[in-house]
Each structure stands twice: as structure tokens, then as C-alpha cells.
Amino acid sequence: MQRVVVPVLLATVLMGTTASPARSADDARSLWRENRRLQAEAVLAATPKPYFELDLEQRLVSLKTRGMVLLEVPVQEQGIWGRRLAVGPTSVVRRDALARPAVAIGDEKNPSSLDDQLLELADMPATYRLGLAGEVDIEVLPLATGRWPLWRQRLSVWRWRLMRPLVTLRQRRDRHETTAIFLILKPEDAQRLYWTLFEGLDGILIPPR
């Protein structure tokens, strides 16, 4: 009996001693990341403007104001490559343009004539690019529905996963490294996000660990 118990106890102690520093380092890292997020949020929440949080760890994009969540959009699939990022503040510096409709000098009493003069949520694109400060390029794609479109999307995601490292290596060689992110969202969520994330909006970027 002793022959079995002693090695088991020894193994347990050994595992405990080796795992414990790793766990505490992990905890400390979590605390540090949380600290960075909170510090960034404290600055943004002190202003009257809304701000976004792109949380790639939790796979969630949210819009907040004064620390209150106004909107949450779950990310269906994501990828991130390129220059390493730290948790911290950012802002939307670029967004694919959308032509605004010209207001005709007409009569708003007739709703049918209004349709092509309005810019509504349904008119927002579901596929677009966003640029965040610090050379972070985001490609937003709508989640495909149906068997074949879904497979095509998976293939294009894999193509992206295969090609992107090469692009990154080339950028590293040219000493001009950027970060590329793709987000696949439900189509209506992608449109909501386009509506919400306008140029100049400040936010917080939380990369995965």
C-alpha cells in the first residue's frame, strides 16, 4: 500500500509546486489585462461620448456609455494576425464609406418617395472594413447561411488563415507590420455594428491572450 501512496503523494506535491507559479503568473496576467482595460474605460466613461469595446478574448463587441452597456454583439468567428497588441485604448480611424442619400426637394407626406432618401439600418452593409488606430485592419463578414455558402465561407476563412501569415512575414521583412483581424458576425449584427462604429469613435481593444 505504501508503495502506491508515497509515489502518488510525491507526484501530487510535485504537480502542485510546478503548477502553482504558472497559475499565479496567469492570475497576475489577468489582473494586469483587467487593469489596462479598466484604466482605458475609466478615461472613456468620464466623457459624455459612447465608446466601444472590442473584446477578442470574450468574442464580444459592445457599445457603452458611462460604463453602461448599450449594445452587445457576439462574434461568431474571428482571426487575428500580425503585430502583437496590448489591451488598451483605440479609436475608429477608417470605415468603408457609405454614400448618403441626397434629400430631394419633395414631400415627406408620401412615404414611397422617401425610401430612396433614407439611410436605415437595413441599408447598412454587412461586409466592410474598419481601420483602428495603430494600424489595425478589421474585416467584418456576415455569417453565411445555407450549406454551400457556409462551406465557401469556411474555405475563404482557411484561405485567409493560410495566406495571412505569409503577408505578416512579408510585412515583418519590410518592417511595416500591421494587425489584421477578421470578424464573422450574424448579418444583422454586422449591420448594427456598421451603424454604431463611426469614424472618430473611441474604444478599447482587448486582444486574445
Binding site: A28, E41, A45, W81, R84
Partner: protein, 236 residues
Amino acid sequence: MATVSAPDLPPSSGPLPVAPRATAWVVARTALIVFLVLLGLALAGFTALLGAGYYLSRSTSGPAPAAFENPDSLRAENLKIGKKIEKLRPKGLFLVVDTGKNRLTVHDGGRVVREVVVSCGSGGVLEDPKGGRSWVFDTPRGERQIKSKVKHPTWIKPDWAFIEEGEAIPKNSNDRAEEGVMGDYALGIGNGYFLHGTLYTRLLGRNVTHGCVRIGDADLEYLYKNVPLGTKVYLF
């Protein structure tokens, strides 16, 4: 000298029957080996490239600073900042306007007490045909507050309203006043923007306004009676 005459040859003369099969087998085997080697090399190269690319270019969070050394102080600081943010969070009665979904929600004590269908800015651009002026009809986003409450408001039409209707801009300010188009009540949120009523209730839920938030009669009355001056309005 021995000679073989033609009649001594076997009936089907020519190369031995085993030779072509052996040659074909050697060729096939070599081709298969070459193919497998090439496939192996391609797979190895592909895997190496993928692996190298993955580890070299995967973007994650950056390096941790020396702050790691004292997790207890970090924990305390996080708690402190968290409380600071908590204090900023809206409390009591406030309004939230979702300009995309055209919904206004009344929050009180941490819960939604009323949801209202509204109309927000159309996002359209009006160009002044006579001058270089232009207007973008967006509902402003951000934090505002109820600055004024008016019963039976009169709309003082701005220049764009005349341009949009193809009319000349009046010189006399009295000619700008128009009664009845803003409904029974108006709640001002600053910079000329109001939460007000509408004649076109069938358009509620759509983005049709010039930037103001249009509300149906019953909901507008509720807001007028229940939302005091100074109430925060969060538009997104």
C-alpha cells in the same frame, strides 16, 4: 557457325513476354515513389510554413510589464478603478435612444419601464442649390439631457426647411413660425434638437426625421409628465 533459320523460331517471335511488364512496373514504382516523396515534401513544407507563420505572426496580447510582480496592488487598484466607473454609471431615471432601431427606452432604478417606437434622423444630405451650404440629417449621438419642456410648441423653421420645400427663405422671423407640426409637447435636448410629436405617425419606426426624435402622442404625453428637466438622454 550455328545459324538459326526462321522456321526454328517460336511462332510468336519478338521480345520476351516478361520484359514489358517489368519495365512498366519499374516505371510505375519509380513514379509512385517520386509522387510520394514530392507529396511528403509538399506536406512537410506546407506544415512548416503554416506552423512558422502561425507562431511568428499570431497576434496576441503584448508582453506583460513589471506590474506582474505585485498582484495584490493590482487587485486593489482594479477594485478602485471599478468603483470609479460604477459611480459614473447612470442611475435613477434616464432615457436611451437607439437611433438604428428607432426605439426609446425609459429606464428607472435599473429596469426598463417603457419602450417607445420613435423616428430618428434620416441620414440624408440636403444641399442648398443657391449656396455652398449643406445639412446632414443625423440624430446626434452621445449624452444629452432634457433642457426644456414645452406644451403646444411652435416650430421656428430653420433655413433647410424652406430649401427642402423649395420655398424662399423669409426675411421676417415671424414667417418662420409654424404651429401644430411638433405635436402637443416638445422636450429639448440642446442644439435645436427635440423629442417631439408628429403628424405622420405611420412613419414611426423609420428613420425619417431631420435629426429630432419624433414620438407618438400617448408616449409623448407620458414622457412630458414623467420625465423631469435634467434627465439624462443617451443616444446611440
